[in-house]
Symmetry: C2
Subunit: 333 residues, 2 copies
């Protein structure tokens, strides 16, 4: 049984720790932007001058985004926050604070909640952000979480999805399909527990905050999105918002290696598997892109075109339209 609401809020407040108040007159780091956190009707945030606010929100629902028998509670908490942080990364932003709405069924063991919060708050601290508020409720069925992450970037510098132009090159960070490979394995062998360390991109994905920020600071990315739904779907979103098309080369797509083997995942997983939380971005002609940023590889996989469609080149003079076949939510529980 989870703690009563008041005790749960007290627990979260203790774990989240009250943020330091910024000294008046000094310009503190962004993480001191939270003036009033948990314990009031609203959180109160302040920003550096000449900055704009970024806001994103993402559900994490039992049976849809995770399964209690597959995912350790720490992983669920980590992934819950990672989803929001990754959206901030995809704008080239700096995360500031998170807000967690959490509804719990009456029969949930208190230890599950403590481990979930542990995973979430550990990732928050790693990224220098404060858990600054949220809501708690009893859930009619299953664990329901909604994470909101607030970030910041210098005015007018946020990298939008809509900035890609014909002739821009398409890049992706890291490797794709690793998260979907874990899901596939759990689906085909539901009884066999995976070792989260062998599939860390699924269980403990690191949002690419530093990569996104560096791309924004260097003025390299004309448009950016994170690969939360899968390359085919997310490239489609980017092209739609920019009013362009794209051609990507199947042979260039960096595929994840699973477990300790050197074997790469199938192309389909790299194309359509979601939840890798890598960055997909476009770069105007003439700008040099380093082979890696913040220790993460950047790979050139194609270019933006005048059309409205996305094509996949599979060989010399061989191309087919790439339908968005984004990652499907977990079905059943």
């Amino acid at each position: 049984m989870p703690l009563p609401e008041k005790a749960l809020i007290a627990q979260i407040r203790r774990l989240a720790k009250p943020p330091m108040r910024r000294q008046s007159g000094t310009v503190g780091p962004v993480r001191n932007a939270v003036l009033t956190g948990i314990g009031d009707d609203c959180a109160v945030l302040r920003l550096l001058p000449r900055h704009e606010f970024l806001v994103t929100t993402d559900f994490t629902l039992e049976g849809i985004h995770f399964r209690r028998d597959w995912h350790p509670p720490e992983s669920v908490g980590h992934r819950c926050l990672a989803r929001g942080l990754s959206d901030i990364a995809a704008m080239g932003g700096e995360p500031v604070a998170a807000f967690l709405s959490l509804a719990l069924p009456r029969d949930l063991p208190q230890s599950w909640v403590a481990r979930f919060l542990g995973g979430l708050i550990s990732l928050a601290k790693k990224n220098g952000i404060t858990l600054a508020g949220g809501d708690t409720a009893e859930s009619p069925d299953g664990i329901l979480a909604d994470i909101m992450v607030v970030g910041t970037s210098p005015k007018g510098k946020s990298v939008l999805r809509s900035g890609a132009r014909p002739g821009d090159r398409v890049f992706v960070s890291g490797r794709l399909g690793g998260s979907a490979a874990a899901v596939l394995r759990m689906r085909t062998k539901p009884k066999k527990k995976l070792n989260p360390r062998d599939f860390s991109r699924h269980f403990y994905p690191e949002p690419r905050i530093e990569v996104g920020r560096a791309l924004r600071e260097k003025g390299l990315a004309s448009a950016m999105i994170d690969t939360s739904d899968g390359l085919s779907t997310d490239l489609g979103h980017l092209c739609q918002e920019s009013g362009v098309g794209a051609e990507i080369d199947a042979a260039l797509i960096p595929r994840a290696r699973i477990e300790k083997s050197a074997r790469e995942v199938d192309l389909d997983l790299a194309l359509h598997g979601g939840e890798d939380y890598e960055l997909l971005f476009t770069v105007p002609p003439g700008k040099r892109v380093p082979s890696q940023l913040a220790g993460v590889a950047l790979t050139h996989i194609g270019q933006i075109t005048r059309g409205k469609k996305v094509f996949l080149c599979t060989g010399p003079n061989l191309a087919r339209e790439l339908e968005p076949k984004g990652w499907e939510h977990f079905r059943g529980r």
Copy 2:
């Protein structure tokens, strides 16, 4: 069956309408603070200089916060947003934008969703705010909504819960217990449909944005909270955050009148019934409080004391400790 995710987002985007871009160099109204709304990884917000950001988040869960057989969809949408707006009002803030996370069961009729969004967006427009983003998902069971509202107030001027001092007077806006009276009626006669117009404080509560703003502008309120959980619980919260106690007078509590009758609700409903979304605030000695603000009555109901407890005076020299018996969520469905 609800629309597929992509079509649902398109519908919400259409209803929410893209916000106007603020002309560069001019200082537009707050409602033009949303530069990039639905359609990117994050929404991008800008604020007037020398303002701070307020953030609040609130669940609306089927079977916990509403019942589909009791509440018209428009009312569910209205109440969902009203919860967040009321938190902004309780800081003396100005609402700017809302973010809606919405998870829907597969068998939900599309008309329900359209009417829910209609109720929510109608209240958003009335308050001059933009629905600027959110998330959609399939729900494993029941309708799940989480609303986030972002607001603003001049730096250092937000009215916190923690500012009450011994000797301050306690006030409440409007009348209390009207919402709980509707819940009680529906519980005792579950088959009989209520006319929402007879119980508008329950079905279509107006968040007290103007009252909260006026109290902040006039520098009247030393501390403030909204009565979402019920007077006894919310006064307890305010006292706890301020490190004080309070005495309130049972005879002074403004009780709601239900339906067209002149009959007032029972004292217990006014003391413990939640979801009235009135403002409960404290005023330092010497400051004059008008009998109404923005057309809403303000009633003096007691004072802040040095102790840590809250007492209810029920007659000359008669007082008992007022336990927080906040509003219980709906049980079952």
